[in-house]
Assembly symmetry: C2
DNA sequence: GTCTATAGCCTGATAGAC
DNA sequence: GTCTATCAGGCTATAGAC
C-alpha cells in the first residue's frame, strides 16, 4: 500500500486546506490581488509547499473555478417541471439565497471572474450555463402557457433572482452600512418571497 | 497670464485623458490587476508622464472614486417627496438602469471596490450613502402610510433596485451569454417596470 | 514532502536629459 | 512637460538540502 500510489490521505487533506485558503484570499482580493504568500499563510504551509501541490497560482484558481459553476447551478438544476410552479420558483430563489448566506466567498469568487469578463469560464457559460437556462426557461414558459403563473419574461425572471441573491453576498458591506450593522439577509428572504409571489401570481 | 499659474488647458485635458484611460483599465482589471503601463498605453502617454500628473497609481484610483459615489447617488437624490409615488420610484429605477447602460465602467469600478470590502469608500458609505438612504426611506414610508403604494420593506426595495441595475452592468457578459448575444438591457426596462409596478400597486 | 534560499520577472516610482 | 533609462521592491516559481 505504500509503493508508487499517488494520492494519500495527507495529500488530500493538504490539497483541501490549500483550496480553502485560496478561496478565502481570491474572494477577498481577486486573482491578481491575491498573492501565493497570503494563501500559504492562510493555509499554514510554506509557499513552495503550495506549489508542490499545485503547479501554479493559476492552477489553484482554476481548481476552484472548475467545481464552482456546477455547484452554483445545482439549485437551478433542481427546478422540477412536475412540481408546483410557484413553489418551485420560490424554492429556487430561497435555495439561491441560502447559498449567498452559506457560501459568500464562492459568490465573490464568481463575481470577480464575471466582472473581469469571465476570461476563464466564458466557454463554460456558453456550453453549460446557457443550455441549462434554456431548458428551464422552457419549463417556466410551459407553466405560463398553462396559466399556472403570471407571464413575465422568463430569462429576465432568472436574471432577477441571480441579481438579488448575488447582491446580498457580493455587496454585503454596502447593505450592512446602510442598515447600520443589521444583517441584510435577515429581512431578505421575506422581502423576496413577497416580491416573487406578487409578481408570479396569475 | 503665464506666470506661476497652476492649471493650463493642456493640463486639464491630459488629466481628463488619463482618468478616462484609468477608468477603462481599473474597471476591466480591478485596482491590483491594473498596471500603470496599461493605463499609459490606453492614454497614449508615457508612464512617467502619468506620474507627473498623478503622484501615484493610488492617486488615479482615488480621483476616480472621489466623484463616483456622488454621481452614483444623483438619481436617488432626485427622488421627490412631492411627486407621484409610483412615478417617482419607477423613474428612479429607470434612471439607474440608464446609468448601467451609459456608465458600465463606472458601475464595474464601484463593484470592484465594494467586492473588496470597500476599503477606500467605506467611510463615504457611512457618512454620505446611509444618511441619504435613510432620508429617502422616510419619504417612501410616508407614501406607504398614506396608502399611495403597497407596503414593502423600504430598505430592501432600494437594495432590489440596486441589485437589478448593477447586475445588468456588472454581469453583462453572463446575461449576454445566456441570451445568445442579444443585449440584455433591451428587455430589462420593460421587465423591471412590470416588476415594480406590480409590487408597489396598492 | 517540506523546507530555506534565490533566481528572474514585473511593477511602481524616480532621475535626469531635453 | 515629456521623454529614456533605471532603480528598488515584490512577485511567482524553482533549486537543492534534508
Amino acid at each position: 500500500m505504500t509503493g508508487t500510489r499517488g494520492t494519500t490521505r495527507i495529500q488530500k487533506r493538504n490539497r483541501a486546506t490549500i483550496l480553502e485558503a485560496a478561496l478565502e484570499v481570491f474572494a477577498a482580493h481577486g486573482f491578481r490581488g491575491a498573492t501565493v504568500d497570503q494563501i500559504a499563510a492562510a493555509a499554514g504551509l510554506s509557499k513552495p509547499n503550495l506549489l508542490y501541490y499545485f503547479t501554479s497560482k493559476e492552477a489553484m484558481h482554476a481548481a476552484l473555478l472548475e467545481g464552482l459553476l456546477d455547484t452554483w447551478l445545482d439549485p437551478l438544476r433542481a427546478l422540477d417541471a412536475d412540481g408546483d410552479p410557484m413553489q418551485e420558483l420560490l424554492g429556487y430563489m430561497h435555495r439561491k439565497l441560502e447559498m449567498s448566506r452559506d457560501f459568500p466567498r464562492e459568490s465573490r469568487l464568481f463575481a470577480n471572474e464575471i466582472l473581469q469578463g469571465a476570461p476563464r469560464i466564458l466557454s463554460a457559460l456558453n456550453d453549460d450555463l446557457k443550455p441549462l437556462v434554456d431548458d428551464k426557461v422552457r419549463i417556466i414558459e410551459g407553466w405560463m402557457d398553462a396559466g399556472k403563473i403570471a407571464r413575465v419574461h422568463p430569462y429576465h425572471l432568472i436574471f432577477s433572482i441571480w441579481a438579488h441573491t448575488q447582491h446580498y453576498a457580493d455587496f454585503e458591506v454596502q447593505a450592512r452600512a446602510v442598515l447600520g450593522g443589521e444583517d441584510p439577509l435577515d429581512g431578505a428572504a421575506q422581502f423576496l418571497d413577497h416580491v416573487y409571489r406578487r409578481l408570479l401570481t396569475p
